[in-house]
Symmetry: C2
Subunit: 128 residues, 2 copies
DNA sequence: TTGCGTTGTGTTTTAATATGCATATCGTGA
DNA sequence: TCACGATATGCATATTAAAACACAACGCAA
């Protein structure tokens, strides 16, 4: 049995919300999972270790990162096969900028939507 | 070949975002599709007509609405079989409140995240 | 030169969702 | 009382995304 992963941003309300970014053609750029993987790559220097912790398959994460790079038009990670450790994956400086931008975005979202959520809930509550 | 439906909220940026609400246990309450269906029910008085326009199967929409009602704890639509037209589906007043609250939420999102998006994009642009 | 551990990638399997189909139920109006 | 058209719902099929699997490729270190 696989544990169910949920990348929602939990709020102090009855409801969740999720946000993710994609290109206008629908290609995924970054979401909570990919963000966590990138953070762990930065920490561990290994994609394999990162996906294990996040609980997503290596195959999928590898493909997702490749897709994201293609659509961004630049590399966010640099990978190496072989060597003492078997190989490594590290963030490029652009990759670091990406996660910083994503963090800032999430922070702004958290702040700015709080009121919207509170109001939604208040309106829904009137229905009880 | 089925046409791919996308319930993203398109912005004047390179990116999209999607928002949807669920209970904290992950049960879907409302998203863009369900919102559109409810609007069309209000307009047409028919679930069948609504799902046709939105492009989702009657079977699914019917089940989703039922689930949403179970988790909200009240009815958002009232349905009738038989009669001149074969049957009808209309919104309850609580259903109307729900879509109003959802509209207000989306509006607030649109307003409040605009700045966050702009800043994200500005940061990402530095990467080019 | 062999083994190790990780990246790289196609193929197969599995699981989750949605669709499609079949058929019952109902209420009006002809 | 019969046909119509929409709702109601189980079930079988199809679709899709993800996971699992299986190896190849690589480079260091013993």
């Amino acid at each position: 049995m696989k544990k169910k992963k949920d990348s929602s941003r939990y709020k102090n309300y009855l409801f969740n919300y999720k946000v993710w970014l994609s290109t206008i053609t629908g290609q995924g750029i970054i979401d909570e999972d990919k963000y966590r993987i990138l953070k762990l790559i930065k920490e561990k220097g290994s994609l394999k270790a990162a996906v294990k912790k996040v609980g997503v398959s290596y195959r999928k994460a590898w493909g997702d990162l490749k897709t994201a790079e293609e659509h961004l038009g630049y590399q966010i990670i640099t990978k190496q096969r072989g060597g003492k450790e078997g190989g490594t994956t590290v963030l490029t400086s652009k990759g670091e900028k990406l996660i910083e931008a994503y963090e800032a975005l999430q922070e702004k979202f958290d702040d700015s939507v709080e009121e919207a959520f509170a109001e939604f809930q208040r309106k829904i509550k009137e229905n009880q």
